[in-house]
């Protein structure tokens, strides 16, 4: 069964409605594949934005930053925030300047964030964020101390008001332009990872994290020592 989120005035895609998706599974897949998000909030009527790490736990998005981060402080005070995750899949070269585009998958989430202050939920949120980058990593790394938790600001944003916008496929030219002697096509783009650079102080015999050799979302380069 396909579950759809109800579009709102903020999440309904107005331009290129054929590119819109309100399906929970499609939204979640984009959020899970992205590595960073951009989060913005209005502070005294002025927009602020930061790129940051995040993690998804079901229908909740966790964001974190330094305790002194005033954008996340404003967000945690119940202010409206907007979070975007954008995956760039290709450059689309059309015959006309006007029809140049990107292939992409993006998600936008609107809502009022809440500060996470309860230490167990804060620790859980940080596990979710680290495991978002590398599944299982939170069980390998040293967990945060109480002092580290106090130095970290975490906010929680419900995924109730979210939509995806996706463009796939070839260039879309006006019919009159298709016969022009101008090269059109798509240049696919993707993120690749590796080779891993082990820290010089790693203890002898300590293996690279599980998951490096079975990347969930990146192509590992040939010759990666973590394979």
């Amino acid at each position: 069964m396909t579950t759809e989120r109800q579009p709102t005035g903020r999440t309904r895609v107005r331009r290129h409605r054929d590119r819109a998706s309100y399906e929970t599974a499609e939204i979640d897949a984009i959020l899970d594949e992205g590595m960073i998000c951009h989060v913005a909030a209005c502070v005294d009527g002025v927009p602020w934005m930061i790129p940051t790490a995040y993690g998804r736990d079901g229908d909740v998005l966790y964001l974190h930053g330094a305790a002194g981060n005033h954008l996340l402080a404003a967000a945690g005070d119940g202010g409206d925030v907007v979070v975007t995750v954008s995956l760039l899949d290709g450059m689309v070269l059309a015959r006309s300047t006007f029809n140049h585009s990107f292939n992409y998958r993006s998600v936008v989430v609107f809502g009022r964030a809440e500060a996470v202050t309860d230490p167990p939920e804060k620790a859980h949120a940080l596990e979710v964020i680290v495991d978002h980058l590398l599944p299982g990593r939170s069980r390998e790394a040293r967990p945060p101390t109480d002092a580290e938790l106090r130095q970290t600001r975490v906010v929680r944003l419900a995924l109730d008001e979210a939509s995806a916008k996706i463009r796939r496929g070839p260039a879309s030219d006006q019919p009159d332009d298709v016969g022009l002697p101008i090269w059109a096509g798509v240049l696919p783009l993707r993120t690749v990872a590796g080779p891993a650079e082990p820290d010089v102080h790693n203890q002898p015999g300590v293996a690279a994290p599980a998951g490096f050799d079975q990347p969930r979302r990146w192509s590992l380069e040939e010759g990666d020592p973590a394979r």
Copy 2:
């Protein structure tokens, strides 16, 4: 001679000041390497954000969108905007959860945008945006018609209030953690392009764009037919 931008209350990096750069050349290089930016504005006190294409012409950033785009409309009315370009260079795995990080290069630009309504400057801005993606492409593609220019909203943002934040190098663990039997290191990330997918309607003998074989910012994959 190194030129630096004067940091303001909005662009001065407060956390990890060692990662800040106010050098014009470093800011410009990040803007030129990025492919999309995220732009945010406050509309009736609520933050909105879109990922979009952009181009830099000296000390000016051009952004464009559909004529009906209300975020760019608000920006063009002289409202404050914030633009971020973020390049992800690696995942940094530390021994502690707390010290996990990314290697990245990011630029943030604050300012009041202005609508570009003069048709010649609008056409120029679209050339700058297309050439930002692929240098010289604006001389190959069909230029915009008057009707297409009317369908496009362009705003100009001065680069006066801009700063960069950059993290490079290995994991940074607390001294007590360095001896732990936990793998630490960096997993470099980069964007690769290709192989190009020529449009099925391309005219016989029409060559791929100049620049595909000398990418300014991406690694082309082996076997790319555009080489």
